[in-house]
């Protein structure tokens, strides 16, 4: 199509204004501005559909969106790293203010104090939540945060062996492998009940609560790692830290996490928010931005990006990471969420998840044909169920009742560390979004199989 005179409503310049502006340059057409592009490559055919009006695009996308089953449209018990939590209305109302939404990275602190002070608040609240000394301004997501934590541990210890517990998310393990592939780092998956750590191990990597929902003893892991001069790197869930001792309590050295549960929609996997904290002694090896408090030339308090000599725009190939754009808007969302939830609210959410999940587990366990293989250990909001039929088949039946079941972990990569008799595992997640009626409906659906 050639709509030669299509005037986009996103562009102010009219044809007449274009002509006037070109005249100031002694030119008569916009095409002349592109004469540096060799003729044979200039103005290639572009096969895109015709432009849609706002009304038309709304219709088209409403149609596409309606082909997806949204979490709010029925009971949903899928977690595994992305969680359906309640988001107070003020989160969206505040984060979509143009002054936050359409600002760039705060490189000009005099006109970016809003964003900078928010990040300082974020660093304060996240380090408190994880029981750690310092937090950075955020990473891409939980998986990349953990991978960068592993690279950082190798820099800190100057070692190249990494022990990853087999209860760490199999997806996170894949991302660690991607990030480490060019560095000669030896990644060993170790058994969580007997992790092998040696004097050349850079770090022991564990997850709390682990991918299968369980709560392992971080104190033991810390003692083991530190006994060999290795760091303990923990990936954690911020909601769980509302009621459980956080990893910092157990002397973890680097604690990362997925920030999505803190006021961010599941949104098919992104954008999310990587949380990254560590002991203060390691800050100069941290990836990503940091905001510090300082004063201006008149002695007034203000905030700036700091310790930037770690970063790519100063240090180039010797930077601690290549990360530049991160997820600042979602650091803002999580800060608003934590401010609104506060000391009591986050604890209440965590406890709602805990009690509802344990109620669901006890009901499912009592069903004939079902059992909870890890029932003896404590868990938070997720647990594994060994089912009487293949989980995919059960999930199809549940969806006929408009219930989204748990994750089928009988298939790779989730099945890799599981014992052979756990061959029909489903990872069930229950949050404060699930009412008692939802849980009872799930139990009734599961009871069809035995």
């Amino acid at each position: 199509m050639t709509t030669a005179h299509f005037q986009s409503h996103y562009i102010p310049n009219t044809e007449r204004e274009q002509a006037e502006m070109l005249a100031t340059l002694g030119l008569t057409s916009i095409d002349e501005l592109f004469h540096d592009i060799p003729d044979e490559y200039r103005n290639p055919p572009l096969n895109l559909p015709e432009p849609l009006s706002e009304l038309e695009i709304q219709r088209e996308l409403a149609g596409l969106a309606s082909k997806n089953r949204s979490l709010g449209s029925g009971p949903s018990f899928l977690g595994a790293g992305s969680y359906h939590h309640f988001i107070p209305a003020i989160v969206k109302a505040l984060m979509t203010r143009g002054e936050f939404l359409t600002a760039y990275t705060p490189y000009q602190p005099e006109v970016s104090q809003g964003t900078l002070q928010v990040i300082y608040e974020f660093q304060t609240l996240i380090s408190s939540l994880f029981g750690m000394e310092v937090a950075n301004a955020g990473m891409y997501d939980g998986a990349t945060s953990l991978a960068e934590g592993v690279l950082m541990a190798c820099r800190v210890t100057n070692r190249e062996r990494v022990a990853v517990s087999d209860t760490v998310s199999p997806t996170y393990l894949q991302v660690i492998r991607t990030y480490c592939q060019a560095h000669g780092i030896d990644i060993e998956v170790v058994r969580h009940w007997e992790p092998e750590v040696g004097d050349d191990t850079a770090c022991l990597v564990v997850q709390y609560p682990n991918f299968y929902g369980g709560l392992e003893d971080l104190g033991d892991f810390a003692q083991l790692a530190h006994g060999h001069g290795a760091l303990l790197v923990v990936s954690t869930d911020p909601t769980a830290c509302g009621m459980l001792n956080p990893p910092g309590h157990y002397s973890a050295d680097i604690v990362t996490g997925e920030g999505q549960p803190l006021g961010i929609p599941t949104s098919y996997g992104g954008p999310y928010l990587g949380l990254f904290t560590c002991k203060e002694q390691y800050i100069r090896q941290m990836p990503s931005r940091l905001v510090g408090r300082t004063v201006d030339s008149q002695g007034r308090t203000g905030y700036v990006l700091t310790l930037q000599t770690r970063e790519q725009h100063i240090r180039r190939e010797r930077a601690t990471s290549n990360i530049c754009t991160n997820e600042a808007l979602y650091a803002l969302a999580s800060t608003i969420y934590l401010a609104a939830m506060g000391r009591q609210g986050l604890k209440q959410v965590a406890e709602l998840c805990y009690h509802k999940a344990h109620y669901a587990a006890s009901r499912i366990e009592s069903l004939p044909g079902y059992n909870l293989p890890f029932q003896r250990g404590p868990f938070f909001q997720e647990f594994v169920v060994q089912c009487p039929a293949p989980p995919a088949e059960i999930n199809r039946k549940l969806m006929e009742r408009n219930i989204l079941g748990g994750l089928d972990i009988s298939v790779p990569p989730y099945s890799a560390p599981l014992p052979p008799d756990l061959d029909k595992g489903m990872l069930v997640c229950v949050t404060e979004m699930n009412s008692k009626e939802d849980i009872d409906a799930l139990v009734a659906g599961l009871a069809e199989f035995n």
Binding site: F34, L94, D296, L346
Partner: protein, 490 residues
């Protein structure tokens, strides 16, 4: 002094906290209470603030008002493409059928999302002239890392493991060398010639059996279209290397040239620049990777594939056979991808081309109006941005930094400063297509006025800004004594 009703931001959340206040009311527990885990596992030290909902809204609103943003100011930050971010894009990303779906839902429950992603892959492939597209990378630098890992995987798959070097122009963004280093390469610097193009003689000396490839930004960070680009690609390919394209500046080339046609093998796009998704104060972005057929097997996982059946295509996530692996937890920054899709659909072919046309026109309009008072190091037609120098003002004691800070007083965001590194006192100005002539003229007038001030009152300019919420901040002190979080007074 008491400041009546204005919402001040001096106190931090923890300093506003009053025991007993709450910003939300939790729903009641509707299941029987369950036994808690051992008390030794529970915390009682959760240091979060206790503030009410109106206080949260007032505090964050007041904070927002201390920012410059596209919606409130002209933001000509070079290489950042601070264009208008259409509101419809946000609204579409917030549709419950997009925002409230789980990444691990089976494909039959997410066909709409997968169809959108598949179509976006096709659009981006068409715009860049590339056959393979992965949307899985979450920002520009993330895409760079994936792209250079793909180059490494390609060479290694051929047993060509001696290619340990990556050549990067001296004008490149810092992420390029940082990404190359993260992919295990040794970085070698590629010089620019006197016209701002890649120096072909220098390139001839660098290519060889130890060079994996080059990373090129087109147009370059000087805002110039490299007239040697086709020759650069030919030289690198002849020596067995690959050409990486940093798409940060694609706003200049939309519909005007396809990087795949020019000879690039793999590139990334910044959807949060070229495709209008909001920067959010530093993210989220999306950095899709587009590549030529020879690199498709190595694309980051997952990609979206379509298969035909009776009632129309079915979409699925799949992993390229020799993928460099997963780059993140799930399938990419979906909410950002929805926004970019919406943008492309509302522009179509003609609209896409008018983006680049008006962006380049606006930049050249500024160039023409300013080159008599600010030194123009490369006197050529520029692309989407113009790089000026404050060298003439420097001679009067006013630096590029001072000019940039003084612009804040006039209500304009500063240009990118001191970058690219090869231009002294660089002021890199990118107006984008979404600014009108009135704003451009006001900006020109401000820069003219600042030039006059550099003659009449250089000291005043040197201490700018004077009208912002804070003046210049002690950055050295901040780095010497890092204060990175609030702590209770002891």
């Amino acid at each position: 002094m008491l400041k009546g009703g204005s919402r001040d931001t001096g106190k931090l959340l923890m300093e506003r906290s009053v025991p007993g206040r709450a910003g939300v009311v939790a729903p009641p527990l509707d299941v029987p209470e369950q036994p808690l885990p051992d008390a030794s596992m529970l915390r009682d030290d959760l240091a979060l603030p206790e503030v009410s909902e109106p206080e949260v809204v007032q505090y964050f609103t007041a904070l927002s008002q201390q920012n410059f943003s596209i919606d409130t100011q002209f933001y000509p930050l070079g290489s950042c493409t601070m264009k208008y971010n259409p509101k419809i894009n946000d609204e579409m990303a917030f549709l419950p059928g997009f925002a409230a779906i789980h990444p691990l839902q089976p494909p039959d429950q997410s066909q709409g999302a997968l169809e959108l992603l598949h179509t976006l892959q096709e659009y981006l492939g068409e715009i860049t002239g590339m056959s393979g597209v992965s949307l899985a990378t979450l920002a520009g630098a993330h895409g760079e890392l994936a792209g250079v890992l793909m180059m490494r995987a390609y060479h290694h798959s051929r047993g060509d493991t001696g290619r340990i070097k990556m050549a990067i122009p001296d004008s490149a963004h810092g992420t390029n060398p940082a990404s190359a280093a993260m992919a295990g390469f040794e970085v070698v610097t590629l010089a620019s010639d006197e016209d701002g193009n890649v120096d072909l003689e220098a390139l001839h000396e660098l290519v060889g059996p130890d060079l994996a490839g080059v990373m090129i930004t087109l147009p370059s960070t000087l805002g110039l279209f490299d007239r040697n680009i086709v020759e650069v690609c030919r030289i690198v390919h002849e020596a067995g290397g690959l050409v990486y394209g940093d798409g940060a500046n694609m706003n200049a080339l939309l519909g005007r040239a396809k990087l795949g046609d020019l000879g690039f093998d793999v590139i990334h796009l910044n959807l949060h620049k070229t495709f209008s998704t909001p920067h959010g104060g530093g993210g989220p972005g999306a950095g899709p990777v587009c590549c030529a057929p020879i690199l498709e097997p190595y694309l980051a996982a997952p990609i979206v594939t379509a298969s035909a059946n009776g009632s129309g295509p079915t979409y699925a996530l799949s992993n390229p056979e020799q993928s460099i692996g997963k780059m993140s937890g799930y399938h990419g920054n979906f909410g950002v991808l929805v926004r970019a899709y919406t943008y492309i659909r509302t522009l179509g072919d003609a609209g896409i081309k008018s983006i680049s046309g008006n962006a380049v026109l606006n930049a050249n309009y500024l160039l023409g109006a300013l080159k008599d008072i600010y030194y123009l190091p490369y006197d050529r037609t520029c692309m989407h941005e113009v790089v000026l120098s404050a060298d003439w003002q420097r001679a009067r004691g006013v630096s590029g930094l001072d000019v940039a800070k003084r612009l804040l007083d006039y209500g304009f965001h500063a240009p990118t400063m001191y970058f690219p590194l090869i231009v002294h006192e660089a002021l890199m100005i990118e107006p984008t297509e979404s600014e009108n002539r009135y704003t451009l003229d006001a900006f020109i007038e401000a820069l003219r006025q600042i030039n006059r001030e550099s003659e009449t009152d250089p000291d005043m300019v040197h201490h700018a800004p004077h009208t912002t919420p804070v003046s210049r901040l002690d950055e050295a002190g901040a780095a010497r004594h890092p204060d990175l979080r609030w702590r209770p007074k002891t």
